[in-house]
Amino acid sequence: MPHALSVVFDSLPYLLQGSFLTIGIVVAAMCLGLVLGICMAVGLVYGNRFVKYLLTAYVWIFRGVPVVVLLFLFYFGLFNFLDLQFSAFTAVTIVLGMTTGAYQANIFRGAILSLPKGQFNAAIGLGMSELQAIKNIVLPQILRMSIPAWSNEYSIILKDSALAFVIGAPEIMARTQFVASRTYQHLSLYITAGIIYFLLTWAGVIALRRLERHLRIPGYSHQGNQ
């Protein structure tokens, strides 16, 4: 075992460098998903029938097809077909962002529907446009409500980001596999990779829980999230 441990120690800096790329993928994908999710949720609730059909189809496709299939489809298929020269990092970020966007759309849609409709009417009644009411009244509340569900989404995307290794992005999983296949210390190295993923998940979830507490509205308890 000492040999296994020394391999882990020697390769740790190399593996941890990969975690920067992992974090980069997750942060970028979550941000893309947030923007897509908010826009699609607004469309799903307030849009006309055509918009709703279109967005519902999008959500079904990204929920129904495995991420790894989407990744190959986009990276080797679609991007090639469109003659787009995207790096593996960009490709993974786009695919994960579009996938989490579909899930986040459903999270935000549920939150909008759980918000008493009267508040939207009150904002409109004061002379705000629909867009102003959504921006100033609806979004600040539903984003708060969605933090617990959003932190689930974070942990799922963090773990899905390991799939980036199949198209060669040098993140944690790819680097672990690279070292393991050369040193044959599979057990200790994959335990190490698992621990790194676990710690990243833990840190992110704790940070989001802090954020949730920080943003809590005094005297007000959100329904359905406790």
Binding site: L126, G127, M128, G219, Y220
Partner: protein
């Protein structure tokens, strides 16, 4: 005598249906500056929908609305925004913005709609909070206020927009009986200052003391209208009289 120019609001033959059910059937209302009309009648009679149609929260299917002799084009968003800004709405269940303090519940529309800067908006909001007796509550959130305080805040929020008309949709119906008094006092104060109002209410003291005219609504139509002195005169057999008698009996059972 009321002349055409005294009229601040003219609602002519507005109708509204939801999924084949006619909720409003060619209803007309005229309102002079400073006038107070009270809507009464059974639930489902169309009172709430009429009020929501008057500031186009619900856009009427047919009919016309004129505010200060300007006809509102229901298809033009800008017309709707302008109408709503000038016609304030008070809801039964307050509809305060839960994520904002009492002060910011008022400043948000001043800043976004009236484009006031932050300090201007705050000054105005504090003035309105003082007017409804909530001067010391500006930092509290809606969930930290009592029902009566919530409704007073909702009234302050509407008044800050300088509405020409205030619509009140059963403003005391969601309140604990012990909290109704403070809201009634604020509404009476508005009447004294000459605020033009249309109010749906089952609060007998508001009907008797404030109404210049009672509109009795049933099945989407105004079936009876007139000043309370006439409609509620002793021995009168009007629908309004019968309705108010029943409200009085209920109040006595309650009290």
């Amino acid at each position: 005598m009321m002349t055409e120019t005294d009229q601040i609001l003219r609602v002519t033959d507005i109708s509204k249906s939801f999924g084949g059910n006619t909720i409003l059937n060619a209803v007309s209302v005229k309102l002079a500056k400073g006038e107070i009309k009270v809507l009464i009648g059974p639930s489902g009679g169309g009172k709430s929908t009429l009020l929501q149609c008057i500031n186009c929260l619900v856009v009427p299917d047919a009919g016309a609305i004129e505010l200060e002799n300007e006809t509102i084009d229901f298809r033009r968003k800008q017309d709707l925004y302008r109408l709503r800004q000038q016609v304030g709405m008070i809801f039964q269940d307050f509809n305060l913005f839960d994520h904002l303090t009492a002060l910011d519940n008022i400043t948000i529309a001043l800043r976004r709609v009236k484009k006031m800067d932050k300090n201007q908006a705050r000054q105005r909001a504090r003035l309105e909070l003082d007017q409804v007796g909530l001067g010391d509550k500006e930092a509290l959130y809606p969930a930290q206020l009592s029902g009566g305080q919530k409704q007073r805040l909702a009234i302050a929020r509407a008044l800050a927009m300088d509405p020409k008309i205030l619509l009140l949709d059963e403003p005391t119906s969601a309140l604990d009986p012990t909290l109704i008094g403070e809201v009634i006092a604020v509404i009476k104060g508005l009447a004294v200052k000459g605020m033009t109002m249309i109010m749906a209410t089952h609060q007998i003291s508001l009907i008797y003391n404030l109404a210049d005219e009672i509109l009795f609504m049933e099945n989407g139509r105004i079936v009876e209208q007139g000043p309370p002195a006439a409609l509620l005169a002793a021995g009168n057999t009007s629908r309004s009289q019968g309705f108010c008698d029943r409200l009085n009996e209920l109040a006595e059972v309650d009290g």
